[in-house]
Amino acid sequence: MAELARTIQGGFVGSLVVFGFIGGSAWAQAQGAAGALVRYSFDDDLVDTGPDTFSVSQFGRGSVRLSTVYRFSGYRSVEIRDVAGDRNFPELQGYFPIRTEGKLYLHFAMMTTDPGEELNIALAGPQWFRLRKDGIAFWLKTANGYLTAISDSMPKKLFCMRAFVWYVVDATYDIDAGTYDLTIRQEGLESPVADMRGQANAASQPGSRVDKFSFIGDHDTDASNVVYYVDDVLVGVDEAIVHQPFAAPGRRKLFVDYWNSARRARAAHPKPLPMMSLADLGIGSAETAALRQNGAGELLGQILSGRLPEVPDDLPDPSRSILQSVIAWREGARALTDGDAELALARFDRASQLSPSAALSQMDAVMALANLARWDEVDRRLAGIVPQWRDDPRLPATLAIIGLARGDLDAVEHQLRPSAESSGLLAEEYFLTLLWKGDAARAETFAHTMLARGPDSERGLWRERLGDAAFLSGSIERARDYYEASLAEHPRPNSVWLKLSDVYFKLGDLEKERAFRERVYGSLRER
């Protein structure tokens, strides 16, 4: 009967190859939180791929990449995109130290664009993703539009899923008993949409150990075109960790959160901005395709994690130029962090030369110039690049930091005030500098002055800034009124829609929160 084991199927994973290439960045494991084995919010700094963290498989035509389009919290989630008929599936797989007893707490948020397309999410042990002891312990999948849990080797329908709605999954897995409790909440609803106790694990195997989890499309039929998003993945051994605010259902990071965290972290010296997506480095879908075609995806991952200082000689263009640009940007970021602004500027300019659409290199070059106090050049370059940063949450804090770097704050105010009313960008910088130092009242007064005296074309923008000042000072309803009023005159309402989404979230109106969020991110529905 040994013959029966002709082909031991790998379950979700046939042969695993780790691509250190996940939309380019920012995965964070749990640090410093006792009880947390794994924690990915996808909003933090670079972490290497590897056997102790996570791996990404992007065979076939599917992809796993960071996304700023949809996120449950913070600025980013992970998009998993499967393509039917490509004989493979994309996979995000995470590892943690093997757990042989006790309880394990699993938490994550997920959103699918089409519940009719299959996806699979599983927690497994050393026997990988197979139905057996030490194989799959916890398994969710979509089938015919329903989210389904595999328990006792059979599918159990949980609920009919909705597209473009976040679901927060909390599972408590009892390793010794081989059972789990499962609660799933839908954004905007008070009561859970699924609440099950004492469910047998996937293959009804008490004592089934676990050490990894996986998010994929389909693994067998190759018929799935699913596109779904995952955020806030947390695996822990302490229930309290899982139920920290990080895991609170419905929590999302507001636009002011970036401002606040930047304010806490940056002091007065301009530093390189954090990278949020590969697009920051001028790497869009065409560049990604070129890198894949040249087999250079792994090289990009190595460069981003600082493990590869030079591009191999035999790599052809355009991949060669793309990677050289990334290397130059990284060298510039390191130099600026170390205080060598001259070198940083040279490297950022080199990166921009190699990749003219790399917006981050351009902005980081401005930060280097600010460090060098070359203010004329700062103003000239900023004027050229700010329009493309208008909807970016990093812009206000960046302008404030530049404002602060001009010198003593009082001197900054004196320097800016006379010219503030004649130059939109300098006025904005001045306004943000006031906010940065915590003087919301003066900032608001200044904004009212600009609203009264400034050009008509900027009235919508100044109402938005008044809303920002109100929001930062905690006057959410006043912020809402300013934002609503600004829409009528605003030349680019996207940023206001996003802020109104945050305002309505704060006010508890989740219908409006969603309505405004979808105005900004509605394009994904067309994919």
Binding site: M1, E3, L4, L131, S153, M154, K157, T221
Partner: protein, 214 residues
């Protein structure tokens, strides 16, 4: 034609054969690829290649080549009523290589009930233990197109096979169930009839729950 141009054309051949050969030559090339187990090149032609493969299978006089075609169907994993019809004609052949390849391929080209029924029958009744074992293997691994309702029927047949008089049939039926579900429910193929019946009832209860949840 320059050598460089010849070389570039040769490079294109495995990638885009349909652009290089005409219809007739393509059939000959498919035959070569089957013989050479170049499934990637065949896959690149897409599903329109299936009738050609069926034709190659049905017109072949050599069982060894038919086995290669069956193996190609297996690796492609594409549903095809024509392929199923052709393969079913050989599901009782005594040629060992062909029989095994046909039994393995059937579940990967079809989810028809008679495929599962035939494999169950082979698993339980074929005079050759190797063919019985490999039929169980196909039932365990290769029924990739079954719906959940069809799986219920497969599991029911495997559970029923736990009652088979032949010990080896009970053993391979249990192994197929274990591969499919990760469980044995405590069933021991060599245990007493009463013990076996008790565990079969556990399996039947499980199956009833499975069915009710669909």
């Amino acid at each position: 034609m320059s050598r460089l141009r010849v070389a570039s054309l040769l490079l294109l051949v495995p990638l885009v054969p349909q652009l290089v050969w005409g219809e007739d030559a393509s059939a000959a090339q498919v035959q070569q690829w089957v013989a050479g187990r170049n499934v990637a090149a065949i896959r690149a032609l897409g599903r329109p290649v299936l009738p050609k493969l069926v034709h190659l299978y049905e017109s072949a006089s050599d069982d060894g080549f038919k086995a290669r075609v069956a193996q190609t169907f297996y690796e492609l994993g594409w549903e095809s009523p024509e392929a199923k019809r052709a393969l079913m004609k050989d599901v009782h052949t005594q040629n060992q290589d062909l029989r095994l390849q046909v039994q393995w391929a059937l579940g990967r080209v079809s989810n028809d009930q008679d495929v599962v029924d035939t494999l169950i029958a082979n698993m339980r009744s074929d005079s050759n233990p190797l063919f019985r074992d490999k039929a169980a293997c196909a039932l365990a691994y290769d029924q990739i197109h079954l719906s959940e309702q069809q799986k219920v029927r497969l599991f029911g047949a495997l559970i029923e096979a736990l009652r088979d008089e032949k010990l080896d049939v009970r053993r391979i039926a249990l192994t197929a169930l274990q591969i499919q579900t990760g469980q044995t429910k405590g069933f021991e193929p060599g245990a007493s009839w009463a013990d076996r019946e008790q565990k079969i009832r556990v399996w039947q209860s499980w199956l009833a729950q499975y069915k009710a949840g669909l």
